[in-house]
């Protein structure tokens, strides 16, 4: 066993720590949040490209660095700490990952260098209204019509869907709503006729969109991977997202713990810093314990996320998402509580980290969903 980061990883971590501390202060973020129409800064995105951050996890033959789960973890932890708004998860990790794992040479050649250069943004249009987290729960259809496919359906809470140039869309080429077979993936331009995007801010200050596809025609070349066999690639991409969110949550929890400990030392009531009250000390200790447990699971998720053993991979990822979701809830709620009235205002970073942690728990399956999946897997093993 070895819990050390490599020298390159340590350098990456230092670079990101400096970036978040210097250029992504809470005030700088607030300016982006309130001033940028797309909800993130193109200038910051360009900076990410210049620093090479957009290519860290993408293959070397297309201009990336071929990094793995731990490299993504380092980036996402910093993103969590700084409440970074830029679409790293959607464009680089989710869509870049889908292209890397399922794309053909032409598709990779077209999109990966453009992603790495910060020139193109992609979004994964997958979940649908009212359906919860089952990845095969898809009603959107893609019907064959000669050499083309015609897509129809509705996607919801598409992360950063409003700024995407291109969507990767899941749709049924065969089968019924809950079938595991029959799902395919398509690259669809946001400006294609029949695509309607409704962009909105999300509760944590990020962006998402509802996207309607109405008889959108795409050619065969737009299909990503084999027809009808997309579920494995979707699961893999979502696992990448889950591992990334676990790391982001750990970053957010670390920031919350630091802020809360500081508040306990400085806020005075009854003539003493409130951190002198043992009940608050113990609460803070429990927040710390939760965070360290979550950090361990984020490491596990990062290490297992590209494992070829699917059932082992999914077991680790569900375990991580469960524990991190529970920790996120506890740490977020307690950080607010220990800040008293100040905790429920918009003024401090506390409430923003709390909201982000809440949304991280809900994204790609909450703690309950993944606990159930983990638990069902125990049965399957009998």
């Amino acid at each position: 066993m070895d819990f050390q980061f490599t020298e390159e990883q340590t350098q990456l971590k230092d670079l990101l720590d400096r970036f978040v501390a210097k250029e992504y202060s809470f005030d700088a973020r607030r300016k982006i949040l309130e001033g940028e129409p797309q909800g993130f800064s193109r200038a910051v995105w360009r900076k990410f490209a210049e620093l090479g951050l957009l290519g860290i996890t993408l293959p070397e033959e297309h201009g990336g660095f071929g990094g793995g789960g731990l490299d993504a973890l380092i980036v996402m932890e910093a993103i969590g700490r700084g409440l970074v708004l830029e679409p790293y998860l959607s464009t680089v990790l989710l869509c870049g990952g889908l292209l890397r794992d399922a794309g053909n040479d032409a598709q990779k050649g077209e999109f990966l260098p453009a992603i790495i250069a910060g020139e193109r943004l992609l979004a994964f249009a997958h979940y649908e209204p009212r359906f919860r987290y089952d990845l095969h729960h898809i009603a959107t259809t893609a019907k064959r019509q000669a050499a083309d496919y015609v897509l129809s359906g509705r996607k919801t809470v598409v992360l950063h869907g409003g700024s995407a140039d291109v969507f990767i869309v899941s749709a049924r080429t065969s089968g019924e709503v809950l079938d595991r077979e029959g799902l395919s993936l398509f690259l669809v331009s946001a400006s294609a006729p029949g695509v309607q995007v409704r962009d909105y801010r999300t509760q944590d200050g990020q962006r998402a969109a509802d996207v309607v596809f109405e008889n959108v025609t795409v050619g065969e070349a737009a299909r990503l991977g084999a027809e009808g066999q997309a579920l494995a690639a979707i699961e893999r991409a979502v696992d990448v997202a889950i591992a990334a969110l676990c790391a982001e949550a750990v970053g957010a929890m670390g920031a919350l713990n630091a802020d809360t400990a500081e508040y306990l030392k400085t806020r005075k009531q009854f003539g003493v810093p409130i951190g002198k009250f043992q009940v608050l000390q113990h609460r803070m200790v429990d927040m710390f314990i939760h965070t360290e447990q979550a950090r361990s699971m984020a490491y596990l998720a990062a290490v297992k996320v590209h494992s070829e053993d699917t059932s082992e991979r999914r077991r680790a990822l569900s375990a991580a998402k469960t524990l991190v979701g529970q920790a996120a809830r506890f740490v977020g709620q307690q950080a607010v509580q220990l800040h008293g009235g100040m905790g429920v205002t918009d003024e401090l970073a506390v409430s923003h980290h709390f909201k982000r942690l809440t949304m991280i728990n809900l994204a790609f399956g909450d703690a309950e969903h993944h606990l159930a999946r983990f638990s069902d897997q125990l049965l399957a093993k009998e």
Binding site: Y127, P129, R130, F131, R132, Y133, D134, H137, R154, T156, V157, L178, Y200, R201, T202, Q203, D204, A208, D210, K268, Q269, F270, G271, I274, F277, V279, L280, R329, Q333, V336, Q337, G340, G341, G343, V344, T345, D346, E347, S351, H352, F354, K355, T358, M359, L362, A363, D366, E368, A372
Partner: protein
């Protein structure tokens, strides 16, 4: 012991239900049931309707124009109002300052203020907390200096709920700076239109800025006749008022209504081939909350009954506050989880008056996350749950 309501109590429930059904405007209940924000008109409108019926003073004794209802009747009344989607009673006038004026105010103050409170002609707000004085309320710094027939008040109050609408504020002020913290405090009634008062909104984590405020008082002149009781005895009155605040915070009726909404959303969401409600794992969580709420309701009735016998608020009210707010937070959290990622869009426009959401659009869940976030306040305000636990430890357990 009999845990059933008597025939008279049942009949009373029926009477309240009929009245509320016939008189609660649909426009208001629609907002309440969908978690939309309520404006001054909504809140006052409903209180005026109750007043016309003679029910505004549902916690008041008859001698001041109240209903003189028993604790059980009040409970039934609140439960029926909540179930129908009536807005909450704005507590500051009717439930907080009024009992203080009744118990400690002069006859002139009673005559001047109580009828206007009953008729919702004056909107009151509470000026207790200060930036440096939250849990440690007795450390408050706002000064009131007697100058002839006036007090001159200087200081900053904060977390002032709905003070932007208020005609009057009841304030704790320091009148004797050199005394021990609790000994030099007085209870003043201040006209919000007095020169020198500035109200500044505080933006909350759900993005709204129409809930709490800072209130700045600069050389505000307050006639001596607006002092409640004796100078420097304000702490006694303040504590009396807080014990009233706590009983109301249990909000069993509201939680029952929110539980219904949770079940409705869980029935609409699809988890695989079934509604989420059909998933025993999720259903058990709802069941657990329902059981906790039953226990709270009966405990609430027990505490109210004991208070009625002893004539006065008991420290047991702290346990109602703690459990009431924990259950309320559990419900809003589970409701958020039921909607899942569909609750993540932030769509303030969907909370506006008259907006009717399509159940398939993200608007259907627009209020859920905001409610969950905002509900974090309930374990903080009115004396945080940590402080309530301290009270129980000291006053009941003798620790």
């Amino acid at each position: 012991m009999d845990l059933n309501f008597t025939a008279e109590e049942q009949a009373f429930r029926e009477e309240v239900r009929q009245f509320v059904r016939a008189n609660l405007p649909a426009r208001i209940s629609e907002k309440v049931l969908h978690g939309k924000p309520l404006g001054k008109e909504d809140l006052e409108g409903w209180q005026r309707i109750l007043h016309k019926k003679g029910w505004a003073g549902f916690t008041w004794p008859r001698e001041f124009g109240g209903t003189g209802w028993s604790a059980v009747q009040r409970h039934i009344f609140e439960e029926e109002c909540s179930a129908a989607g009536a807005p909450p009673i704005v507590a500051f006038g009717l439930l907080m300052v009024a009992p203080v004026i009744m118990a400690f105010g002069s006859p002139a103050q009673q005559e001047r203020f109580l009828p206007r409170i009953l008729a919702s002609e004056d909107w009151w707000c509470q000026g207790y907390s200060e930036p440096g004085s939250g849990s440690d309320l007795a450390s408050l710094q706002t000064r009131a200096e007697r100058q002839g027939d006036h007090y001159v008040v200087n200081g900053v109050k904060t977390w002032n709920t709905l003070g932007q609408y208020a005609d009057w504020i009841f304030c704790l002020v320091r009148t004797k700076p050199d005394a021990r913290p609790q000994a030099g405090i007085s209870f003043l009634l201040i006209d919000m239109k007095s020169p020198g008062i500035t109200v500044r909104p505080i933006r909350m984590l759900d993005g709204r800025d129409d809930e709490v405020n800072e209130v700045w008082l600069e050389n505000v002149q307050v006639p001596v006749e607006n002092l409640i009781g004796e100078e420097n005895k304000g702490w006694t009155y303040a504590k009396y008022l807080l014990s009233h605040e706590r009983t109301n915070i249990a909000e069993v009726g509201r939680s029952k209504r929110q539980l219904l909404r949770l079940k409705q959303i869980a029935a609409e969401q699809r988890a695989g081939a079934q509604p989420l409600l059909a998933d025993p794992r999720f259903r058990d969580k709802i069941a657990q909350i329902e059981i906790d709420l039953m226990a709270l309701e009966i405990t609430c009735l027990r505490v109210l009954a004991a208070e009625a016998q002893k004539k006065g608020a008991a420290p047991e009210a702290s346990l109602l506050k703690i459990r009431g707010t924990e259950i309320r937070q559990a419900i809003s959290e589970l409701t958020l989880l039921a909607a899942g990622h569909h609750a993540s869009p932030y769509l303030p426009e969907a909370l506006e008056d008259g907006y009717s959401p399509d159940p398939l659009l993200p608007e259907a869940h627009a209020s859920l996350a905001g409610t969950y976030f905002n509900d974090r306040k309930v374990s903080i305000y009115g004396g945080s749950n940590e402080i309530q636990r301290n009270i129980i430890a000291q006053m009941i357990l003798g620790l």
